[in-house]
C-alpha cells in the first residue's frame, strides 16, 4: 500500500528536505551577499566542488571533520580570490570568469581525485546526528527534524548572521549600496573594490562550506561532479528569494523538499514511473521558479557590472 500520506512519511520527508537543502542554503545565502554587492558569481558549481573535494581530502588526512569543513571554506575562498581578481581588479566579464571557474573546479577536482584517492576506495567519517533535547522528543516531527548533524542546524545560525550583516551592520549597508550605486560609495570615501572582494570571499567561503557538507555531512565519499548542478540551482534560489537571505533559506528548503520527494518516490514500488522522472524534479522546479518569478525588479541595479572610477 502507498504510505505517502502518513504522518511518518511526511516527517521523514521534512527531515530529509532540511538535510538536502543544507548545501543550497549555504551557497545561496553566500551568493545573496555577493550579488547584493553587484557581483554575479556563476562559478558556484565549481567552487562547491572544490569545497567538497578539499573538505574530503583534509578530513581523509587528519580524520577531523572540523578541519575538513575549514579546508572546504578555505578552498572556496581561494577560488573566490581568483574570481574576484579577474572580475574586480582586471574588470573581466563576470559570466566568462564564472564559467571558467566552473570548468576549473570540475576538471581540477576530477584530476586530483583520480590521482590520489580513487584507488583507496575508503571514505571518511561523517558528522553524527545530534539530538536537541526536548525538541527531538516531539511526536513525529521531533524525531525526524531534530536528529540532524550540527552542520544542518548551523544553517539557521548562518541565516541569522547574514541578516545581521546585511541589514544591521554598517558593512552591510555599504555593501548593499555598492551593488546599487557604487559611485556613491566611492564618493563617500570607501573602496568599492574592497567591499566587492569582501562580499565575494564571504560568498565563496559559504559555497565551499556547502560543498564540504556534501562529503562530510551527507555522503562519506567524494565523487566526480558530486554537486550535480547544486551551484546552478543556488543561483536560481537567489532570484526566487528576491535577493533576501531569509528568502534564500526558505526557498532552499523548498528545493530540498523536491530532492527529498524525489528520493522517497523512487523508493515507492507501487509507482510505475521511471525514476529518472523523479530525479528531474528539482531541475524542473528551477525552471518553473525562474519563469514564475522572472523579471529583475528586485535585482541590485549594478549586478554584473564592473565598477569604473571614471
Amino acid at each position: 500500500m502507498l504510505d505517502i500520506l502518513t504522518l511518518g512519511f511526511l516527517a521523514t520527508l521534512l527531515g530529509a528536505a532540511w538535510r538536502l537543502a543544507t548545501p543550497l542554503i549555504f551557497a545561496s545565502i553566500g551568493e545573496v551577499i555577493s550579488e547584493r554587492a553587484g557581483v554575479l558569481n556563476i562559478g558556484l558549481e565549481g567552487t562547491m566542488l572544490m569545497g567538497a573535494f578539499c573538505g574530503f581530502a583534509a578530513s581523509f588526512a587528519t580524520g577531523s571533520i572540523p578541519l575538513g569543513l575549514a579546508a572546504g571554506i578555505a578552498a572556496g575562498m581561494a577560488f573566490g580570490l581568483i574570481f574576484a581578481f579577474f572580475t574586480i581588479t582586471v574588470k573581466a566579464n563576470q559570466i566568462v570568469v564564472g564559467a571558467a571557474i566552473n570548468l576549473l573546479g570540475l576538471g581540477l577536482t576530477a584530476f586530483l581525485f583520480r590521482t590520489y584517492y580513487v584507488s583507496t576506495g575508503r571514505g571518511v567519517d561523517i558528522a553524527r546526528p545530534v539530538r536537541i533535547p526536548w525538541l527531538s522528543d516531539l511526536p513525529f516531527f521531533g524525531e525526524a527534524l531534530f536528529r540532524q548533524n550540527l552542520i544542518v542546524y548551523s544553517t539557521v545560525l548562518v541565516t541569522v548572521l547574514a541578516v545581521i550583516l546585511l541589514y544591521r551592520s554598517s558593512f552591510g549597508l555599504t555593501l548593499r549600496a555598492v551593488g546599487d550605486h557604487p559611485k556613491a560609495v566611492d564618493v563617500a570615501g570607501r573602496s568599492v573594490a574592497a567591499y566587492r572582494y569582501g562580499a565575494v570571499l564571504i560568498g565563496t567561503g559559504l559555497a565551499g562550506l556547502g560543498g564540504a557538507f556534501l562529503t562530510l555531512g551527507h555522503s562519506n565519499q567524494f565523487v566526480e561532479g558530486i554537486t550535480s548542478g547544486r551551484g546552478f540551482i543556488a543561483l536560481a534560489v537567489v532570484v526566487f528569494a528576491r535577493w533576501s537571505p531569509v528568502g534564500a533559506f526558505f526557498v532552499s528548503l523548498l528545493f530540498g523538499l523536491f530532492y527529498a520527494l524525489q528520493l522517497q518516490l523512487q523508493a515507492q514500488p507501487m509507482l510505475n514511473i521511471p525514476y529518472q522522472a523523479f530525479q528531474a524534479l528539482p531541475y524542473l522546479m528551477t525552471i518553473v521558479a525562474l519563469i514564475v518569478v522572472g523579471g529583475k525588479s528586485a535585482a541590485p541595479r549594478k549586478l554584473g557590472t564592473p565598477y569604473d572610477e571614471r
Binding site: S169, T174, D186
Partner: protein, 511 residues
C-alpha cells in the same frame, strides 16, 4: 590675487589617454563668496571640481586649501577638510532611505547600526533650519528629482561643510525651484560657508554670484567680479566670440494642419501611465514647442508619435491620413522626419562612418541601393553635399562619426532628416550637449524649414531654445498638456508656473 586665498587650485592638468580634460587650470576662491564656474558643456568644470573632491587624481598641479596643501586624489581627505559636493548625477542609493544614505560609509564598517533615531532627529533639525522639507525615512526612489537634490544638499550639510560645490544644480529644476535654490545659496553664505556654483546659464550666474570664473577648452579664461561684467561679455568669453542671443525671424504664417494628435494615452516602459489624453496640432509653417521638467512624459510623447511606443488609446494623423499603429518605417515613409532626444542611442551608429550614417533610413532604397548592392559613389556624393551645406567639420565622409564633436554629429542627424524633404519634423532636445556655434546654426536651419512651409514639433527642456524659435509653447506636466503660452519671453513666468504644475490665469502679466 589675494595674499592668502581660501582655496587655490594651481596649474591643474588631467588627461584620460590622449583626451585632455584639464589643461593647466588655475582657480582662486575667497572665503564666504559665491563663486560661479561658467562654461559650456565639456569646458572642464565638473572635472575640475571632481579633482578638488578627490574623485579624480590630476596628472600634475597642486591645491592649497585654507593655507595648506591638500593631499589630492582621496575623497576621504576632502570630506575630512569639510569640502562637500552636490553632483550633477546624484550620489544617492535609490533603494535606501535618506538617513541610510547619510550614514553610508561613516565610521567603522563593523559597527552595528542602532542609533538611527539620533540621525533622524539631526536631519529633521537641519532640514527645518534651512527649510528644505526633507523626511529622513523617505526612500530615495520615491522622491522627485527636485526633492532628491534637496536631500543631496542636506547630505553635504549633515556631514559638515565649509566649502559647498554645486554641479549644474538648476538643470533639473523649474524656474521657481531654481529661485528657491539661489535663495538657499545666499543663506548658506550668510552662515559663513563658501559656495562654488557650476552652471552654463548666464542669467542665474549673474543673479547669484559674487565672482565668476569662465572656463573654455578646459582652462579658466577669465575671473571677474559680477559688478564688472555683463551677460554679453560672459557669453563671448564662453564661446570665444559674440553670440546672437536673439535670432531674427518673421511672424509665423500657419497653413493646413500637418500633424494631429487626439486623446493620446500610453504607458512608459515600467507600465505606468505616461501620457494622459494628449491633444495637439501642428500646422504647416509653424514651430510648436513642448516645454516641461524632464520626466513629465515628453520622451514618451516623441516615441508615441514616431510609432516607437505602443499607445493605449488615441489617434494620430499626418496630412489628414491616419497613422495610428503604423510601424516606424511606415510612418517615416510618409514624409515624417525624426531628430531623436538621445542621438547616441537612436540618432546615429557610433562605429559607422558619416556616409553610412547619412543613409540610415534609406540604405535599401534607390538611389543608394540597386539590385541589393550599396551604391558607394552616390552615397559618398550625397554625404559630401550634406557636409558642405551644413558645414560639418570632418576630414571626409569616410570618417567614423564617433570621432566628431557632439555638435557636428547632431548637424549630420539634422542634415539627414531634412534631406528626406519631410512635411513634418519631430525634434527632441535639439541642442543637448552641443556647442553654442552649432546650436545657433541648427536653430537658424529650423527657422528656414519653418519658412519653407514645414511643420515642426520641438520637445525640449531648454526654455532658451524654445523661446528662440517656437511660435507657441505647450507645457507638459505629469503626462498632460497643462497649458499653451505664446512664445514671447515676457511670458516666461507663466511657463515656469505651468512646469511646476500650477495653472496660470491669476498670474500678473508683465508688458
Amino acid at each position: 590675487m589675494s595674499e592668502r586665498p581660501f582655496l587655490r587650485m594651481d596649474n591643474i592638468h588631467k588627461s584620460f589617454g590622449e583626451i585632455i580634460v584639464s589643461a593647466g587650470v588655475t582657480l582662486e576662491v575667497e572665503e564666504g563668496e559665491i563663486h560661479s564656474l561658467l562654461g559650456e558643456n565639456g569646458a572642464g568644470k565638473s572635472v575640475l571640481m571632481s579633482i578638488l573632491c578627490g574623485i579624480l587624481s590630476p596628472n600634475s598641479g597642486q591645491i592649497i586649501y585654507k593655507g595648506r596643501p591638500l593631499n589630492i586624489g582621496s575623497p576621504r581627505e576632502a570630506i575630512r577638510h569639510r569640502i562637500g559636493m552636490v553632483h550633477q548625477h546624484f550620489m544617492l542609493v535609490p533603494n535606501l532611505t535618506v538617513a541610510e544614505n547619510y550614514v553610508l560609509g561613516q565610521g567603522s564598517p563593523l559597527r552595528l547600526i542602532h542609533d538611527m533615531e539620533k540621525v533622524h532627529a539631526r536631519i529633521r533639525e537641519l532640514s527645518d533650519r534651512y527649510g528644505l522639507g526633507v523626511r529622513p525615512d523617505a526612500v530615495i526612489e520615491d522622491l522627485s528629482v527636485g526633492e532628491q537634490q534637496r536631500v543631496e544638499i542636506l547630505k553635504v550639510l549633515y556631514h559638515g561643510t565649509d566649502l559647498l560645490i554645486l554641479d549644474e544644480p538648476t538643470a533639473v529644476l523649474t524656474p521657481q525651484e531654481t529661485d528657491r535654490l539661489l535663495d538657499l545659496m545666499r543663506g548658506l553664505v550668510k552662515d559663513g560657508k563658501t559656495v562654488i556654483f557650476i552652471s552654463h546659464k548666464l542669467d542665474e550666474v549673474m543673479r547669484v554670484s559674487d565672482r565668476i570664473s569662465v572656463m573654455r577648452d578646459c582652462r579658466v579664461v577669465h575671473t571677474t567680479r559680477v559688478a564688472d561684467t555683463d551677460p554679453r561679455e560672459l557669453a563671448r568669453l564662453m564661446v570665444g566670440r559674440d553670440v546672437l542671443m536673439e535670432l531674427p525671424r518673421a511672424p509665423a504664417d500657419p497653413g493646413d494642419v500637418v500633424l494631429s494628435v487626439e486623446g493620446l494615452s500610453c504607458r512608459n516602459d515600467l507600465g505606468l501611465p505616461a501620457l494622459r489624453d494628449i491633444g495637439l496640432q501642428v500646422r504647416r509653417g509653424e514651430i510648436v514647442g513642448v516645454a516641461g521638467v524632464s520626466g513629465n512624459g515628453q520622451t514618451e510623447l516623441a516615441l508615441a508619435i514616431a510609432g516607437l511606443l505602443p499607445i493605449d488609446s488615441g489617434r494620430l494623423a499626418l496630412n489628414g491620413r491616419d497613422i495610428t499603429g503604423l510601424s516606424p518605417a511606415e510612418i517615416n515613409a510618409r514624409a515624417f522626419a525624426h531628430i531623436p532626444e538621445d542621438r547616441h542611442k537612436m540618432g546615429i551608429l557610433m562605429p559607422l562612418s558619416l556616409a553610412e550614417n547619412a543613409i540610415l533610413e534609406r540604405y535599401d532604397q534607390p538611389p543608394f541601393a540597386a539590385r541589393g548592392m550599396l551604391q558607394r559613389r552616390r552615397i559618398a556624393a550625397h554625404t559630401r553635399d550634406l557636409i558642405a551645406r551644413f558645414r560639418i567639420k570632418t576630414p571626409d565622409e569616410e570618417e567614423r562619426i564617433a570621432n566628431l564633436s557632439g555638435g557636428n554629429q547632431q548637424k549630420l542627424v539634422v542634415a539627414r532628416e531634412l534631406a528626406r524633404d519631410p512635411d513634418f519634423i519631430l525634434v527632441s532636445q535639439l541642442t543637448r550637449g552641443i556647442d553654442i556655434g552649432a546650436i545657433e546654426f541648427i536653430l537658424q536651419e529650423m527657422l528656414k524649414q519653418r519658412d519653407a512651409g514645414r511643420a515642426i514639433l520641438l520637445i525640449s527642456t531648454e526654455l532658451e531654445e524654445l523661446f528662440a524659435i517656437c511660435d507657441r509653447i505647450l507645457v507638459m506636466f505629469h503626462g498632460q498638456i497643462l497649458g499653451e503660452v505664446p512664445a514671447d519671453r515676457s511670458r516666461l513666468e507663466e511657463v515656469g508656473l505651468l512646469m511646476a504644475g500650477q495653472k496660470a490665469g491669476h498670474v500678473a502679466q508683465e508688458a
